[in-house]
């Protein structure tokens, strides 16, 4: 039985009471149970079954696993914090999250068919099959691993910070990170993608319930933005103005970064492979296009309205805006006290579903695209064992890094990941849609793009003229591809005119 006093006031905001913490503990334990069920449902000891759940996901599972994976702890903590700091212009995140579906539309329909016929397991399988150029495949796989590693890192950081805040310091950051990482490792190694997807279903449902609570509280209790307009105007008059030109350019640049970056998440691509049939994939993507309106939109409003309700938060504190607001709302609406722990569980759920999916994808990339090249005679049982060991090793490394990097702000880390992942986009999108594109063009393009993106990201100004380093890199990437392709055509036929 959960006590009504699930949230208590504390020095840094609001924290869960004993009842609330028990609820979270039971929820985390239940995930291991779901993982065990996934293990029992396992049909064969193959990479196909371990990493793609036997390609059997129906609409409900596929949609909820895509949803829970796409919305992470960064969405719940990072987006709200950014909306608190920047105000109304953060609404670009709604369009940006939708843009991801635009990215999928360019390659997912054909990639799904190819993956079914040619039994792809990872992104690397497609790249190798399409271009037959091992250095390119390895480079793209390494970019994927780097991006996913960063993803796991940012989300573990968010988990640790969250645990500290909601327990009012009773649960230490390091202990929380280690325990939750262990839970994820257990259910992931037990049942692979099937366990991960089934836990995602639970997590997706909790996310939707919590967002319903946020929407209700924002519009019916606080009266929507109109209800807090006066306080908002007094606290931040600057956020009402339309963005200036440079902000608009950054707006577009962010959308493009999400379009080309998030759609390249290797674990999202594996979910495309895992669909039971094409109709299931189509319907899931159609519904996903609308989800930012029910997710990101409410989160942005929550952050903006928090400016008026809890003014004066510093940069690091603003990453906790979600919890502070929920604590306040639950105090004002005691009838909804159960929603407090549920929302905390939702943030934990969003974060864990992202980490476990990314971890599984890293494991598959290492096993399928790196280990298997050097040990082609390895059988499925050995490969699955290597995959599980890889998950354990990577999780240990990431936990150690997370503990060492506690001081970073979440948003910046998120961007560094996308800058690099976006460089994979030309290989996948042009590889799918352009028959004539050659491996070497793509190889030189992805190297040039990555160098530019990393160089600018590490430099003093990572957004020259308001454009993200990743988009500059992507521009260089495409330019290099077209120049190299042009050169290859001349080399083969004399001149392009002669070829015509």
């Amino acid at each position: 039985m959960i006590s009504t006093n699930n949230f208590i006031g504390n020095s840094s905001g609001y924290a869960l009471g004993t009842g609330g913490l028990t609820f979270i503990g039971l929820y985390v334990l239940a995930l291991i149970g779901i993982g065990w069920l996934g293990h029992r449902a396992k049909k064969e000891n193959t990479l196909d079954d371990h990493y793609l759940g036997g390609r059997s996901f129906g609409f409900g599972v596929l949609f909820l696993t895509l949803y829970a994976t796409q919305y992470s702890g960064n969405s719940f903590m990072g987006f709200v914090g950014k909306a608190y700091r920047d105000g109304f212009p953060t609404i670009y995140t709604v369009g940006a999250m939708m843009a991801v579906i635009g990215g999928y539309f360019i390659f997912a329909p054909r990639l799904y068919r190819l993956s079914n016929r040619r039994r792809f397991i990872t992104l690397g399988d497609f790249v190798q099959d399409r271009f037959s150029f091992r250095p390119l495949t390895i480079f793209i796989v390494l970019l994927g691993i780097f991006g996913l590693g960063n993803y796991v890192l940012t989300n573990l950081l968010a988990l640790g910070k969250l645990a500290e805040v909601v327990s009012d310091g009773r649960v230490n950051f390091n202990i929380a990170v280690i325990v939750l990482a262990l839970v994820m490792l257990i259910y992931e190694t037990m049942g692979g993608m099937r366990s991960v997807a089934w836990t995602d279903v639970t997590q997706g449902i909790i996310l939707l319930l919590s967002l319903g609570f946020i929407a209700f509280a924002l519009f019916f209790h606080l009266g929507g933005p109109a209800g807090v307009a006066e306080g908002l105007e007094a606290a931040r008059p600057d956020i009402w103005h339309p963005p200036i030109l440079e902000q608009k350019i950054t707006w577009l640049s962010s959308i493009l970064l999400f379009f080309f970056g998030i759609s390249m998440y290797p674990h999202a691509i594996q979910r495309i492979y895992a669909a039971r049939d094409e109709r299931t994939l189509k319907r899931s993507l159609q519904l996903m296009a609308f989800m930012p309106l029910f997710t990101t939109f409410f989160l942005v409003l929550l952050g903006v309205m928090a400016i008026s309700i809890i003014p004066g938060l510093g940069k690091e504190e603003s990453d906790r805006t979600t919890l502070l607001m929920v604590g306040k709302l639950v105090q004002e609406l005691p009838a909804l006290a159960i929603m407090g722990p549920l929302l905390v569980a939702a943030v934990i759920a969003a974060t864990m579903s992202t980490i476990d999916s990314a971890l599984l994808a890293i494991s598959s990339l290492v096993t399928n695209d790196l280990y298997r090249i050097y040990y082609p005679e390895a059988n499925n049982s050995e490969l699955t064992r290597v995959g599980k060991s890889t998950s354990i090793i990577i999780m240990i490394l990431v936990v150690m890094l997370t503990i060492a990097l506690q001081g970073q702000t979440i948003w910046r880390l998120l961007e560094i990941k996308l800058e690099v992942l976006a460089q994979i986009a030309p290989a996948v999108m042009l590889g799918i849609q352009c028959k004539k594109i050659k491996a070497r063009s793509i190889f030189f393009g992805v190297i040039a793009g990555t160098l530019i993106a990393v160089y600018l990201t590490m430099g003093a100004n990572p957004r020259p003229y308001g454009i993200h380093a990743g988009i500059w890199g992507l521009g260089m990437n495409f330019l290099t591809i077209f120049i190299t392709q042009f050169g290859i055509n001349i080399g083969r036929t004399g001149t392009p005119a002669e070829e015509r």
Partner: protein, 92 residues
């Protein structure tokens, strides 16, 4: 005579292929064009006019997002085969 017919037939196929390519390009690039238009470029001056307590440029951005979601649902529903290049075999 036979050569002429063959020539016309090849031209017809080539024209049809070009039409398919242009159509595919338009379909695949339309989300990007739409996303570009959804940025509130035309809102420059601060305005005190509000709707439901929020500024007009914010409403414009939300309307743009809703339209984009509808566009994507339609594209996925009606133009899936174009993106999948279903008229071709599974060779690259």
């Amino acid at each position: 005579m036979v050569n002429e017919v063959e020539h016309l037939s090849v031209s017809g196929e080539s024209g049809n292929l070009q039409f398919v390519l242009v159509k595919r390009l338009l379909v695949l690039l339309s989300p990007l064009v739409f996303l570009f238009l959804a940025v509130p470029w035309c809102f420059v001056e601060p305005s005190s006019v509000r709707l439901f307590g929020i500024p007009f440029w914010f409403i414009y951005a939300i309307a743009g997002s809703i339209s984009f979601a509808i566009l994507m649902a339609v594209l996925i529903g009606c133009y899936w085969e174009i993106s999948a290049r279903s008229e071709e075999d599974d060779q690259y």
